[in-house]
Amino acid sequence: MSMKIEDKLFLDRFKVAEESHLRIVDGEKCTKECQDQPCLYFCPAYVYRLEGDHISVNYEGCLECGSCRIACPHLNIEWRFPKGGYGVSHRFG
């Protein structure tokens, strides 16, 4: 039985901040200039999802690896650490 990403994230403890620490700077770039949209695939938390013609940012489940910040082909993602104490909290690590 293969475990879905949603079920994996359900195992983790998150303290979700009201404000997203991730932001797509220019949404038009994603739809018009980005052919491959690799963030839909490499993000280990499935934060970036194609919804209709735009990419949604589901920051609540972000595992804070930083990959989208440097691997977005257009460097189109603004990335901050969540506010102190917020975001994912490893219980094992």
Partner: protein
């Protein structure tokens, strides 16, 4: 009101806490900022720690109840194709007796928290739930402290140690380390799989507090430059798999599907069957090697651990390099404080110490290793396939003569990896590790 410290440390991981222990022991007024709810809450490693570097900082770590999971007495290496694989292992009873705790498993949420408590007991101030968002600088550009995300969050310090890990927007923002290129990091995901300790002992052939590590290469990373591992904890297994981030981006392989495929490999299934997943996390590994390292010190600041890209991919060493560099940073800071010189010149002994130690010697020795794996994808595709075919044919008794089988294997091998490629691979491989 600004509060003043001798040393501000960004990050309560192995590098930052090692430095904090040494500094606090010397009576240096030290503050450590941790962005997580508690030290370790944002940290991840495969899960092996080496006793040597920890003992340099806390010789009595065992008596201090260090949260050791299992003492490693056997290291296995697997080379896998999709549905088969080779495995070798080395078990040595010396690792249970006179060289006990040479390597042991940990989980970082427990270990880092414990480690930070030791620094706190020595007198360092640990401040969790606090992000350092910028650095203070004087008119000459010398770092004079940190800016936290809290209100009135400026904290002055004579010296600042950046130990905030491989994923550091701060380092990039302040210009002290350029953002790594995707090919300079590996993205790894990890699951904690819970099993009764008796089941782990039976499946891995160990007893009591002993444990086993398995490092895994081959087709398991979907043709990407990557590695997987299975480590035994007391009543769980640490299962991790990672690959070069540039390979992930190009291949469109999803990390969570990769780890699921890994868990379904016929050599993995019997070890993890019946286990309960307890956590799923992700982190980078610093794969850029020596040539991707930033300048490790400057006016008023130093960089240690993952922040400085200190990682030895071949020998799965990172925590120990963080500890060793944190210790050397602290020793250099103590000297600088005595002289009252926190300039670049005053902190230069740090780079000398690193260069004289195994840390930089190993970084230099393996400077080509990351590139070797990245540029030779046969290692993760054709080679494990051909190697599996060879074993499969030789072990199948079907009335075909061995000479004939040998011919078939050589032919298939040459088809998969032409002789010139193979020789090139061997030559580059040798150069990468010699």
């Amino acid at each position: 009101m600004k509060e003043a410290f001798d040393v501000a440390i960004v990050g309560a991981g192995p590098a930052g806490i090692s430095a904090a222990c040494i500094l606090a022991d010397a009576g240096v007024k030290t503050i450590v900022f941790e962005r997580g709810e508690y030290p370790g809450s944002k940290n991840m490693s495969g899960g092996v720690l080496y006793g040597h570097d920890l003992a340099q900082i806390l010789p009595d770590y065992v008596e201090r109840n260090c949260p050791i999971e299992r003492n490693i007495i056997e290291s296995r290496i697997w080379y896998l194709s999709k549905e088969s694989g080779y495995g070798i292992g080395y078990r040595d009873s010396i690792f249970a007796t006179t060289r006990k705790h040479n390597a042991f498993t940990i989980t970082r949420a427990k270990f880092d928290r414990w480690y930070a408590e030791q620094a706190h007991k020595k007198g360092a101030l640990i401040v969790p739930s606090t992000v350092v968002v910028d650095l203070l600088r004087d008119e000459k550009g010398c770092v004079t402290g940190v800016v936290t995300g809290r209100e009135q969050g400026e904290v002055e310090a004579k010296v600042t140690l950046l130990a905030d890990g491989i994923n550091s927007p701060l380092a990039a923002r302040t210009g002290f380390r350029v953002e790594p290129k995707p090919e300079f990091v590996a993205l790894a995901v990890k699951e904690i799989l819970e099993l009764p300790s008796a089941t782990i002992e039976q499946r891995f052939g160990v007893s009591g507090e002993d444990g086993v590590t398995i490092e895994i290469l081959g087709e398991i990373t979907g043709g990407m430059d990557g590695v997987a591992a299975i480590y035994t904890n007391r009543n769980s297994l640490s299962l991790s798999i990672g690959a070069n981030l540039a390979d992930f981006a190009a291949s469109k392989i999803k990390p969570y599907e990769l780890i699921e495929a890994f868990k379904q490999h016929p050599m993995v299934v019997p070890l993890i069957s019946g286990a309960h997943p307890r956590e799923y996390i992700a982190h980078w590994l610093a794969e850029g090697g020596y040539d991707a390292m930033p300048a490790v010190y400057g006016d008023g600041y130093l960089i240690a651990g993952d922040s400085a890209m200190l990682f030895n991919a071949l020998h799965r060493e990172g925590n120990n390099l963080a500890m060793a560099s944190g210790k050397m940073a602290a020793e250099s800071i103590i000297e600088a404080l005595k002289r009252g010189d926190y300039s670049r010149k005053g902190l230069a002994r740090y780079a000398e110490r690193l260069a004289d130690s195994y840390v930089i010697k190993d970084m230099k020795k393996y400077r080509r290793f990351g590139g070797f794996l990245y540029h030779n994808k046969e290692l993760f595709n054709e080679l494990p396939r051909a190697a599996s075919l060879a074993a499969r044919e030789m072990l199948t008794v079907n009335g075909v003569g061995k000479k004939e089988k040998q011919k078939l294997i050589v032919k298939e091998f040459r088809k998969q990896v032409p002789l010139r490629r193979l020789l090139r691979l061997l030559w580059h491989g040798w150069r990468a590790i010699r």
